[in-house]
């Protein structure tokens, strides 16, 4: 990554989140994500990584502090954000085509434009051959691909992903990770990615945020300076191994604390 100054895509300052009278889930989070970054959030369960994602999306409100997405409040920035959930969250009564077009439909994009965009997306993620299938006919990996295509169909500037490939087998996950980076190179969105897998985080990210639990806070930030494009060869490089070891160690430190 170059050192030029860019306007931040996401800016959190002094963000805390408390549910009711429980101890805070997140405390005093300061985090700035530049345009084009791929940031992974990693940490033990209960460290508030998913909550952080929900705060940036505006699905929940911060108890204190400020959050800006593209200089706007999360709610006002909704049109520029897409969210990919842990499960594919496809509508079973709709075909693949119709699922991918859902976001555009809800945003009242005309039918012709929708058709064109969906066709392009299906081709991009390699789903054209199952365009008319229903979700139940697809494998887990395919479903997730439909979910990614649906998120990208609305041409987001910010992509929030909450362990999207967590339920998939390792081979499928690796392949989808490579595809995700290819799509990113073509479309240039900013990404915030929640994961449990160190290898996945290192492979995808330009920066990894290690979170510590109770209360959730940022423990460490690790820049990943592996060159793009990253491929399966990247995973075999010694630099990759070094990063994995480094992040794993940071994560262990957080666990034992």
């Amino acid at each position: 990554m170059s050192t030029e100054v860019r306007a931040p895509q996401v800016a959190l300052s002094g963000v805390s989140k408390t549910y009711g009278s429980n101890p805070p889930v997140l405390q005093q989070i300061d985090l700035t994500i530049a345009k084009g970054e791929f940031v992974s959030l990693i940490g033990p369960s209960g460290c508030g990584k998913s909550t952080l994602l929900k705060l940036i999306s505006g699905l929940t409100n911060a108890t204190s502090g400020s959050i800006l997405v593209d200089g706007m409040t999360p709610l006002n920035a909704r049109e520029t954000i897409s969210y990919i959930f842990q499960d594919a969250t496809l509508l079973p009564w709709r075909t693949v085509t119709s699922n991918v077009g859902l976001g555009l439909e809800l945003e009242r994009v005309s039918r012709e434009l929708r058709r064109k965009k969906v066709d392009t997306l299906l081709e991009l993620v390699g789903l054209t051959h199952v365009a008319r299938a229903y979700p139940r006919q697809l494998s887990g990996g395919m479903k997730m691909r439909v979910s990614v295509a649906r998120a990208l169909a609305t041409t987001p500037r910010l992509l929030l992903m909450d362990e999207p490939f967590g339920a998939l087998d390792e081979m499928t996950r690796d392949r989808l990770n490579e595809e995700l980076l290819r799509l990113r190179a073509e479309q240039n969105w900013t990404a915030v990615f929640v994961t449990h897998s160190v290898a996945e985080a290192v492979f995808l990210s330009t920066r990894i945020i290690v979170l510590a639990p109770s209360p959730g806070r940022i423990a460490q930030e690790i820049k990943i300076n592996l060159p793009f494009p990253r491929t399966s060869v990247t995973r075999e490089s010694p630099e990759f191994e070094t990063y994995v070891t480094h992040v794993s160690r940071a994560l262990r430190g957080v666990h034992s604390a």
């Binding site: 909704r78 969210y83 969250t89 509508l91």
Partner: protein, 263 residues
Amino acid sequence: MKKYAFTLLNALAVFAGLLLLWQGLGVVLHLPPYMLPPPLAVGRAVVARFPSLVASLAITSEEAAGGLVASIVVGVLIALLFAQSRWIRRMLYPYTILLQTVPIVAVAPLILMWVGPGTLSVTLVAFIICLAPIIANTTQGLISVEPNLIHLFLMHNASRLQILTRLRLPHAVPSLFVGIRIAAGISVIGAITGELFAGSSRVGEGGLGYSILYASAQLQTDYLFALVLAATVLGFVFFFLVMFLEWYFLHNWHESARTMTDD
């Protein structure tokens, strides 16, 4: 295919055996035909009084179908209201349980007294008995949507109406069909129960319930059996009609409809 044929053959064999047993029972025990008419006599009664049997069947099926369709329309509307807030559900839901627990045989005479005898009040009885399962199942379907699907819609700035029409309603269709399946069976029972109290404008002519009462009073036991048979067939037809509709609307995406075709 072979398996189907075998199952069918089995069923037919059992049916034939039962008929033989029935015919034999009357002979062996020397039962008078007005106690247990032999199947042949029932068959003769069906043939001899076919037009009036069909007429009764038509009246009852119209009442049952009318009550069922009305209960679907009204039940879905009430479910839509219930889906709006937990507060509304807490306030009004107990009354739908009341609707289910009140014995229809006890209420039917009341309704006839208020609305007056005739097809309308019988349809109303069928409607009341069908309403509760429709409301309960549809409400369940409308509110049991996965939270992340709601989040997905919210992330695309979906309006409340869009969430209702594109998410909650389609999601509720399988549950609605569970309700309809239950209601279809009891709609026939409701209509017949209503007819037991409704009487008829012309002596000897009315729906199945009325005709059953009339035949029993006249000791026309063979025709009574024919009427019972017709009522059973009507229930079956309703059930399979609903099964077909369910399959038609859901086979593309829902498990409950698929299992009927898969094995």
